[in-house]
Symmetry: C2
Subunit: 492 residues, 2 copies
């Protein structure tokens, strides 16, 4: 694990234990229970697909939002806030766009009577474009890059799931950009992908990047690049998308600019989005039978300090001192000094809530001027000299984040299977992602989906096509040669 034990004279007092992940297999039940038990989220609100963030959950979410903001700000995106209402007239302008969304749009009217023709935004391209038209005059106004973190609304007809499939997506980060040409727009597509990778890395979430097939791209896009990750039950979940929109929106909204050569041209636009699904994935991927495990980067409490009471030893006083030292150093620490709970009860409770590190202070530790440090990720325990505790924990937090990322990536990679028959595909579908030989033909792709009752995620764009495809036939259309290994999975 690379903990520099020598440097800190920390002694391992208990070896790594295997994390039990049985309950995680019964995933949705486990997930719904744990977000309620940890008082992170509330799913009993009496409106379908609408839920509540409670303080512990919102503290995590605010940290995720902050890293999202930071990464967008430092790459020249300006944060804006647009209204939730879009006039139907604007929403309908781009014909593919309205076709893609019209079934799941909420309409708004005043007092239940005179209907104004307003909808609640399901996404904001058609709110932004009329303003881009006003803000962009000539090529010096480009690129224009803005983003917002807001609620969007989709009247999902499928069954809804807390934090995963929502009618009010309350943490939708959507970026919208305009450019002089395709080249410049595609530079931003790449930049967006880099931003998203950094967000997932920060949360120790592994991901696959695929180019979505034509029939599954964003309504109105030229193409869509999507990030998926794997849930513990073998289904994938889309956790981010980046769209190149070409001039599809700029043409209908007349978003033009005066170029250097004196001619008026249409801007090329992009949009890219990410939502609270990254938080749902983070909780799902790292949790185990004992509860949550939060990456130290976003844990509201990074270190909990539990005193072991003993006559004649002020372990509570010592715990409070350690808390103060850690806080002084900027570590989010809490000394749990409650008298009406046993240490064992506290251990379990904080494990369940996902606190990544526990410090135990007992009488023997006080005699020896040490503390015990327990890792939530591996279960390892260390004896650490009292004077080293701040530095040791600071290093351990990085180590835990790295280890969580490593473990999650390893699990994802193990769950990808190359198959060359329908039977083999069906056998492996329940456990993760399958790679299927595909001609690239749309009809054959749709057949693959139907025969497997699964979805084509798309052709990988995050790896070289190292696997030889030569000789394979399209799995649904054996008369055709396969040209790609395409990713397929069941999904949320």
């Amino acid at each position: 694990m690379g903990i520099p034990i020598a440097e800190f004279q920390a002694r391992i007092v208990r070896e790594k234990r295997e994390r039990k992940r049985e309950k995680v297999r019964n995933f949705i039940e486990w997930f719904n229970k744990i977000i309620m038990d940890a008082e992170l989220y509330e799913y009993r609100y009496p409106v379908k697909g609408a839920y509540i963030w409670r303080p512990y959950g919102l503290q995590i979410r605010r940290r995720v939002e902050n890293i999202i903001r930071q990464l967008h700000d430092e790459t020249g995106h300006g944060e804006v806030l647009f209204p939730v209402f879009i006039p139907l007239e604007y929403f309908s302008k781009e014909s593919e766009h309205i076709r893609g969304f019209e079934e799941e749009v909420f309409w708004v009217s005043k007092g239940g009577k005179d209907p104004e023709r307003l909808i609640l935004r399901p996404t904001s391209e058609t709110a932004m474009m009329p303003m881009f038209k006003l803000w962009i005059k000539d090529h010096t106004d480009l690129p224009l890059k803005v983003y917002q973190i807001t609620s969007v609304f989709r009247a999902e007809t499928k069954s809804t799931h807390p934090m995963i499939r929502l009618r009010e997506i309350s943490m939708f980060k959507e970026a919208h950009t305009a450019h002089v040409d395709k080249d410049d727009a595609e530079k931003t597509v790449k930049e967006a992908m880099e931003i998203y990778k950094k967000i997932y890395d920060y949360l120790s979430i592994p991901y696959l990047i695929s180019r979505r097939p034509e029939w599954d791209k964003f309504a109105g896009a030229v193409y869509t690049i999507a990030f998926d990750t794997l849930m513990p039950d073998g289904k994938t979940i889309q956790i981010g998308t980046v769209h190149y929109l070409g001039t599809n929106f700029s043409k209908v909204f007349e978003v033009t600019y005066l170029d250097k050569d004196g001619t008026t041209k249409y801007a090329h636009t992009t949009s890219y989005g990410i939502s609270e699904r990254v938080i749902a994935s983070m909780l799902a991927i790292h949790g185990d039978d004992n509860g949550l495990l939060l990456p130290p980067n976003v844990a509201p409490i990074q270190v909990v300090i539990v005193p072991i009471p003993q006559e004649g030893y002020d372990t509570k006083g010592e715990a409070a001192k350690v808390e103060a030292e850690l806080k002084e150093d900027g570590i989010r620490a809490l000394a749990d000094l409650r008298d009406d709970k046993t240490p064992g009860w506290k251990f379990n409770d904080w494990e369940m809530r996902g606190v990544p590190i526990r410090v135990e202070i007992g009488p023997r530790d006080m005699d020896k001027k040490t503390v015990i440090v327990a890792r939530r990720d591996t279960g390892e325990k260390y004896e650490v000299p009292r004077q080293d505790v701040v530095n040791f924990l600071r290093k351990l937090m990085v180590e835990i984040g790295d280890n969580m990322r490593k473990e999650a990536w390893s699990n994802l990679r193990k769950s990808i299977h190359y198959v060359s028959s329908m039977q083999e595909a069906l056998n492996n579908l329940g456990t993760g992602i399958i790679m299927i030989p595909w001609s690239g033909d749309e009809q054959c792709g749709i057949k693959i989906q139907e025969q497997l009752d699964a979805s084509i995620l798309g052709i990988p764009i995050d790896e070289e096509p190292t696997e030889q495809i030569g000789g394979e036939k399209d799995l649904a259309c054996p008369e055709k040669n396969a040209n790609y290994w395409v990713r397929v999975s069941r999904r949320y």
Copy 2:
């Protein structure tokens, strides 16, 4: 002004000038123009009462939100996030509440067809109460104090104004609390008032605190305490309210707790709100004919550094160095190094955008190892030794915030007039708040409002009744003795 000139050897090189506030008198026109010119806000969005925050404005707003969060967090409020949808069935439970809001509620339906009975929250008491019922079991769960910063929706029939009268109030901070009894609830009413005072102080906004008359209290409240401030055109604007709700909501939503004595009792609840109107007021109160003046606490750029170009002097390099030093010290500084703008153009542009301090670096300053510091609030200029610049500016920022607060309070106090006839009342109404002798009788109060075409703000609760009321008669009902001086104004 108390700038410790001796300490810094700073020499005043230009005296204070009077700030021109003529345009501010034509207030709404001035306001709408300046928020657009400063690229802070956009009012051309094609939906009535719905507007856009642009990056410069949102940076101010995020700082205001942060101080609001900090003050609520440190007084034990948990931040939550509730859905925007409220089932009509819940919204209608409290009869006064629904009567107060029903005319201005937006209804939502899916796809314009099968109407689900949902509304967009105009305020969240009726969303919170069903959850409070689930979360509160016994007296140890109380007090329960939560808040959220969200959008709320009111289908205003009056004319809307950018940032002032909105259909989507996008920065609504609403706190909701539950308590064992009236005493404990009223402690939180007082705490809320202290929180709000700190927010206004932070933004250098003066305020009056009044107990709203019965006919103007929050729909469903036992009583409402409101904060008002004065706009440059002599109208007041409500910038915060605190409501004691008694058991009005807890009874209809059955929010009960098991008390120590084993009996089940209704919780007493409160709610209190504040919105982007605090930002509108801050901009309105401190601005002048040259544009905005932002309090250093929330200014996205606190110090702009303008080099004065001159052959043989690297004033640009020096400006960049000063910028780096200030940033190093945590001051939000920007060196304006554009070559295609003159220093004079830059001075005007940054003044318009409200940057509170300008540093000028010219060839003579470089020879003398000094810089020129110009205050946006008083127009004073200082010559400051180069090595003192960071400390001088840090002190000056506090001084500017204090001076802005002092000036604004002095303006508010000058605008309050005690009157003892209707004619005198009418003569003074255009310039601010008038104090009117009132019996306290509701019918007489409503007559006062009608005769003056103005509103009773309420009885002061922020000052001792020092003015003798003895002998005065109710202005609208001369047969009655007056018992109070009541505040009256035209208002937004």
